[in-house]
């Protein structure tokens, strides 16, 4: 019998590093349609529609300003509090929302995943993209406020590191994607993790310099914890680039990038393993 050429072989396990990215590329139209679906379905039948994109970060910023700035009197590194908080909120929200949304991919789509095959990676990818669009809009809001301060006052000093912004966003996005995939894969079997994640994300925010500047942490033990958090250098760099105050180090950034890549790789591997049989357990 001659050598047979099969287009596909369905078998119990694939190789560990078979990420199936070519398959995802073939389904790229689907990714974009999912993004579109997310937007349309979120704001259908709401009066304010996409204006909610602005209201959310604005209200959060104002709340933080009142609670952390006025009531608790936390330092903002001599920066105008409004722009300080909104810079942190904008970039942190992107991470937190993407992570929470991707972490429930398997559970939320169990019915659909149980009926038809398409590369499951398209789903978290589409979430990352639709959150990126959301982030872009909120980033626009931040830029408006930021521009006001740049023009009207000399409290903030942006510098050339602004050029790093795309890299920062990419690291954020990939980190949340990787973590989200790990969680979504594990929650198919252990639902407990879903509970853990909701407040885990909240706790993580306090371990990231979102509502306080890194410089205000003097206790070396705490500082170590915060520096160990790969999100810290992203938020700090972002703030340093746009506002001109804070800490910046290539080493910390490189550390974040390496951790992100490792998490992402682990995420894809775990995700791909679980996607093959999760319908039996979910």
């Amino acid at each position: 019998m001659q050598e047979e050429s099969w287009t596909e072989v369905i078998q119990p396990r694939t190789r560990l590093l078979d990420l199936g990215l070519a398959d995802v590329w073939r389904y790229r139209d689907l990714v974009m349609l999912f993004v579109r679906r997310d937007f349309v379905s979120t704001y259908k039948q709401t009066v304010l529609g996409p204006i909610w994109f602005f209201i959310q970060p604005l209200l959060t910023t104002i709340t933080y300003y009142i609670i952390f700035g006025r009531v608790a009197n936390l330092s903002t590194d001599a920066l105008p509090p409004l722009v300080f908080y909104i810079s942190g909120v904008t970039i942190w929200n992107y991470f937190a929302q993407t992570l929470t949304a991707t972490s429930t991919v398997f559970r939320d789509n169990a019915a659909m995943f149980g009926k038809v095959y398409f590369p499951r990676l398209t789903m978290p990818l589409s979430i990352v993209i639709s959150n990126l669009v959301r982030f872009a809009i909120q980033f626009g809001l931040f830029l408006l406020i930021w521009l006001y301060y740049v023009v009207q006052t000399d409290a903030i000093h942006p510098n050339w590191l602004i050029a790093l912004t795309p890299a920062l966003i990419a690291i954020m996005g990939l980190m949340s994607l990787g973590l989200g995939m790990i969680f979504s894969a594990l929650t198919t079997k252990y639902r407990d993790l879903a509970m853990l994640l909701t407040f885990g994300v909240q706790l993580l925010m306090y371990a990231t310099p979102v509502i306080y500047p890194l410089s205000s942490i003097t206790n070396p033990k705490y500082k170590l914890i915060i520096l160990a958090n790969p999100m810290s250098s992203i938020v700090e760099t972002f703030r340093y680039a746009f506002l001109g105050s804070g800490t910046f180090s290539w080493a910390a950034l490189a550390y974040s990038a390496v951790i992100t890549l490792a998490v992402l790789l682990a995420g894809i591997i775990i995700f791909n393993r679980v996607q093959k049989s999760f319908t039996d357990t979910v």
């Binding site: 072989v9 369905i10 119990p12 679906r37 659909m112 095959y117």
Partner: protein, 427 residues
């Protein structure tokens, strides 16, 4: 290039029964430890064949085990079996929704599967948006969908509502639109599960027609799972029969169906001797009801319009040598226990007499007028003036759609409970 589209080798799927969540962590660790040491999965060994009627001792069950078969290109394969035989599991593995536990499937060509119509339909999106979304989920590219868009809308017949969110659709419109998208998939291999059981009779016919088109005219390979044996017979060229997760028969569709009906044999030959839910003096006692076709062969599937005969055997306890006046009734009831009709000696010209050496009686039906559905038979016997034997629910049987009027069309249940022979003339 070989002409095999799908080759299934030693396919097996192990399922865990009972609650998932208790003890899973320790089992997972056990399994992982076994894997690390290069040993076999400790839980795979204890799985047993899938027979849901028996209570097994193990928590693990082989929903499919050692299944081997091949599907040639252009073949239309019917997958049949009773509930729980493993059909759905096989389809799920073929459609890559879940992975097998053992074995592999080699595929040549792009697969699209329809385990359900309208997967991923979002109620807030319009018909148009859902066509694109659903099409993409099923593996079509945007360009492909755009090219077929008009055909899809046309086939579904919901053109007027195409820009309305589908949550405002009637359920019929929803299903039509959903099926229409699937109907225009163009993979080399199509896997279909019972989706034909949707919509009204007219639309079902349209769907069947489209399915036939796909297989006959386009020469695509189709795998079709259904409980509708008439549809399987009509569409498929070959069939496989699954039983308790194992391949029971593999061959030509007619033979496969025969095997299937033979497997169901007990349903069409009722053993009544041991029944206790009966009344009467017991002068005679029914022991069995059997169905035969026009050639006096036992039959296992009953179809509307079929010629058939019933043989009712009984135990004769008549001691004397006299002729006794006897009345035999067979009562036909539908699923809701409405009496549909009665087959009885009461309608014969002369009285019927029974002797001590009588052992069975037969009823012949030249053309069965019952439409598709489930029925119950009750049997009754009166000798002289006394009730001799009376079993209310002697047996249940199913009638399948058939071509009563010899017009090339089957009579669907939706067209009424019985068929009446008639002619129509225009003057």
């Amino acid at each position: 290039m070989s002409d095999v589209a799908i080759k299934v080798e030693n396919l097996g799927k192990l399922y865990r029964l009972g609650e998932v969540g208790t003890g899973t962590l320790s089992q997972d660790l056990n399994r992982w430890w076994a894997q690390v040491r290069g040993k076999e999965d400790p839980f795979a060994k204890i799985g047993e064949a899938n027979d849901r009627t028996k209570k097994g001792s193990s928590d693990f069950v082989w929903s499919l085990k050692d299944v081997n078969f091949e599907v040639k290109k252009g073949e239309v394969l019917g997958i049949i079996g009773r509930n729980g035989a493993g059909k759905s599991t096989l389809l799920k593995i073929l459609s890559k929704v879940t992975a097998p536990t053992t074995g592999k499937i080699k595929v040549d060509g792009r697969i699209a599967s329809l385990l359900e119509v309208g997967t991923g339909f979002h109620p807030e999106l319009t018909g148009r948006e859902n066509i694109f979304l659903n099409g993409a989920i099923l593996g079509m590219s945007k360009t492909e969908i755009r090219a077929k868009f008009d055909e899809i809308v046309d086939f579904s017949g919901v053109e007027r509502y195409i820009d309305t969110p589908v949550k405002r659709y009637s359920s019929g419109m929803y299903v039509r639109l959903a099926f229409a998208v699937s109907a225009f998939l163009e993979p080399e291999i199509l896997i279909v599960d019972e989706v034909l059981a949707v919509g009204d009779a007219e639309f079902q016919k349209k769907c069947l027609g489209r399915m036939k088109d796909v297989s006959v005219n386009d020469g695509r390979t189709v795998l079709f799972v259904s409980h509708n044996m008439a549809a399987v017979q009509q569409l498929c060229t070959t069939g496989i029969l699954l039983k308790n997760g194992q391949l029971f028969y593999d061959g030509e569709v007619r033979k496969t169906l025969q095997e299937y009906f033979a497997m169901q044999k007990n349903v069409f030959e009722s053993d009544l001797g041991s029944r206790t839910d009966r009344k009467g003096t017991g002068l005679i006692k029914f022991t069995s009801i059997e169905f035969y076709d026009s050639h006096n062969q036992p039959i296992y599937n009953i179809v509307t319009g079929q010629q058939l005969s019933l043989k009712l055997k009984f135990e004769n306890n008549i001691q004397d040598k006299k002729d006794h006046n006897v009345r035999f009734d067979v009562i036909i009831m539908d699923e809701n226990e409405n009496m549909i009709s009665m087959l009885t000696t009461f309608y014969q010209h002369n009285n019927t007499y029974i002797h001590s050496d009588s052992a069975y009686y037969t009823i012949s039906i030249p053309k069965l007028p019952l439409s598709q559905g489930n029925y119950t038979l009750g049997i009754y016997c009166k000798i002289d003036e006394d009730e001799a034997d009376w079993i209310m629910n002697a047996m249940e049987f199913t009638v399948e759609e058939g071509d009563f009027f010899n017009c090339g069309r089957v009579m669907p249940r939706g067209f009424g409970a019985v068929a009446i022979e008639h002619t129509i003339q225009l003057h």
